[in-house]
């Protein structure tokens, strides 16, 4: 132990002669660990973020959308329209399928909203049933929820998102006040708790909820809904329930065997797949960049080690004279080269750590530390140091004390 310490001290003393060169030589390793740590931390952040987003959408959630949508990524562009998804379908799912705990039909459309002189041009207005909050994990911060009665009597009441409340009322208490949604005056009965952006990046705090029947009658004048949110009784029930819903809706919609569905059951895993794919690509590119950096780093350290060994020929000769064996010399210089590269690696890890924190902050991702990423970075920097040290330390063993004494 003492020996390692003393040897490192001597090594540092000699490295002091080549400060700039040593710094340059380690740059490759610095960049290598930097990119490994950034990539590791960020992909963990993204995975965590996706998990949170899915949980945020609702527990054990299945989404049935009217019409055919392309099932790729967070956006779900419509391929074909349909107008036959109804609240009755939702009831049938909830009542006939034991695996479905609840089914919340919902329609939505953007309308201008006005209060006094304040006009908001297009706010998403959602027609919802009392089950909606439970199924979609929406909570009310103040006021009362939409009740069965509100829905049955088509009451003109509204729950508003926290951002909408802020825009319309500022510091004022909105509850009990009336706002004009499109041309329907509605009384505000509650304000939603903050929820942030959804998986597609839409602000979920800037919207309005009204009873579904009010929405269908007074706002869109139609019988069908855009979407049915179904809550499965458990995670395991999700997959079988999807199939049951499909079969049930095909029967209810009278779709014959050879015909396509006029609805789409979305899988949330598919929704997040594109994001993960993009991150996967970035990870691969990052790792390739890291590998290239380590290669350059190893070459840099190789050159500095050759320099060091040459500079310390006398030291090596005298060590051999006082009894160091070849393997002691090899060990010494391997230690030195890995010390140099690990030092650079630690700097890169620290920088990568800070960088990933900053990126996560900017993207609004949860900050995570990928321990495997850190270990990989450490191991890679140690390894490139060892590999770079092999040739120079072998060269060092070729130095013979007799040659030193003669010159």
């Amino acid at each position: 132990m003492k020996r390692i310490f003393l040897n490192l001290k001597i090594a540092l003393g000699s490295l002091g002669n080549f400060k700039l060169r040593t710094a340059l030589a380690t740059l490759g390793v610095v960049f290598g660990t930097f990119s490994l740590v950034v990539v590791g931390n960020l992909s963990d952040s993204l995975a965590l973020k996706t998990e949170q987003e899915i949980a945020n959408l609702g527990n054990n959630l299945i989404i049935v959308v009217s019409g055919q949508v392309r099932r790729h990524g967070p956006s779900t562009p419509l391929i074909s329209r349909a107008t036959n998804l109804t609240p009755g379908d939702a009831e049938a799912i909830a009542n006939n399928l034991p695996a479905a705990a609840r089914a919340a039909p919902s329609g939505f459309k953007a309308f201008p909203v006005r209060r006094g002189n304040t006009v908001l041009k297009a706010i998403a207005v959602n027609g919802v049933t009392p089950d909606f909050g439970e199924v979609r994990n929406f909570e009310i911060a103040a006021g009362t929820p939409i009740t069965e009665e509100d829905n049955r009597l088509q009451r003109k009441v509204a729950l508003i998102g926290s951002a909408t409340a802020e825009k319309l009322f500022g510091e004022e208490n909105p509850i009990g006040k009336t706002i004009l949604i499109w041309r329907v005056p509605c009384q505000i009965i509650g304000v939603m708790a903050e929820k942030g952006a959804d998986i597609a990046g839409n602000d979920q705090d800037n919207q309005i909820f009204v009873p579904l029947k009010t929405f269908l009658r007074n706002f869109v004048n139609q019988e069908n809904v855009n979407i049915i949110y179904v809550q499965a009784v458990s995670v395991e029930a999700i997959e079988p329930l999807r199939k049951e819903i499909e079969a049930l809706l095909r029967v209810r919609h009278g779709i014959r065997k050879e015909m396509k569905d006029d609805f789409t059951v979305l899988d949330l895993k598919e929704v997040t797949a594109l994001k993960s794919q993009a991150m996967g690509l970035i990870s691969v590119l990052g790792r390739i960049a890291a590998a290239a950096s380590f290669l350059i780093g190893a070459l840099g350290i190789l050159s500095i080690m050759i320099l060091i060994v040459n500079e310390r020929r006398v030291e090596i000769g005298i060590r051999r004279a006082v009894g160091s064996r070849k393997r002691d010399i090899i060990l010494q210089f391997l230690l030195e080269s890995s010390f140099i590269s690990v030092s650079g690696g630690i700097i890169g890890m620290a920088a990568g750590f800070l960088m990933s924190l900053a990126i996560a902050k900017v993207l609004g991702y949860p900050a995570t530390v990928s321990v495997p990423g850190l270990l990989l970075a450490f191991a890679a920097s140690a390894l490139s140091g060892i590999v770079a040290g092999i040739y120079p330390s072998f060269k060092a063993t070729q130095i013979h004390p007799v040659d030193i004494i003669r010159s």
């Binding site: 003393l6 001290k9 003393g13 051999r320 004279a321 002691d328 004390p401």
Partner: protein, 227 residues
Amino acid sequence: MTPLCLMEDVRKTFRMGDDAVEVLKGIDLEIVPGEFAAIMGTSGSGKSTLMNLIGCLDVPTSGRYLLAGREVLGLQDDDLSVLRNAHIGFVFQSFYLLPYATVLENVLLPTLYREKTVAHTEERAVELLRLIGLEARMRFRPNRLSGGEQQRVAICRALMNDPELLLADEPTGQLDSKTAAEIMNLLAKMNERGKTVIVVTHDPAIAACAKRIIRIKDGVIVDEQAA
């Protein structure tokens, strides 16, 4: 008494490309424990080459060499290292202290390669430095010491593993005569304490400090005398 060093018809040939130069041409030499010998000769006569063989820094091309009863010829490089570490201390003309280590660390250098760890290593190093009067400067870098002081530190380093044999190749070559005398006194003192000391020199005044003078010329021992 069994000799510490026993050489019989030792030859050393150096190859330089196609040429082979025989530098030592049949050396017979016996050094018994406790001796203080000087190897004398003109420059190029083969003194250092002989010294390197005695010190196991190099091996003879032919002949027999027993160090403390052990045959040296045929030993592996690692075995020679272990042998040097335990049995031989070197002092060179240019002191060869490590510039980035302190005086104390330089003295400790041979202990880094000891086969067995020994207790109180550092105390012993400090003790040696006290003996030569440099204890106060043990935390200095060698470049802050004078030549004579550096050579004394080198002697401490040579003594650190308590070897039987102390080899000094022109130890005073870079020193003025007063300092040279001090160094020779120190070596004589070590001899009195039981070390076998061999000094290589071309300087008769230095050789005169030894109890035995071995003259070498063109690779052969030409004359032996007790001083």
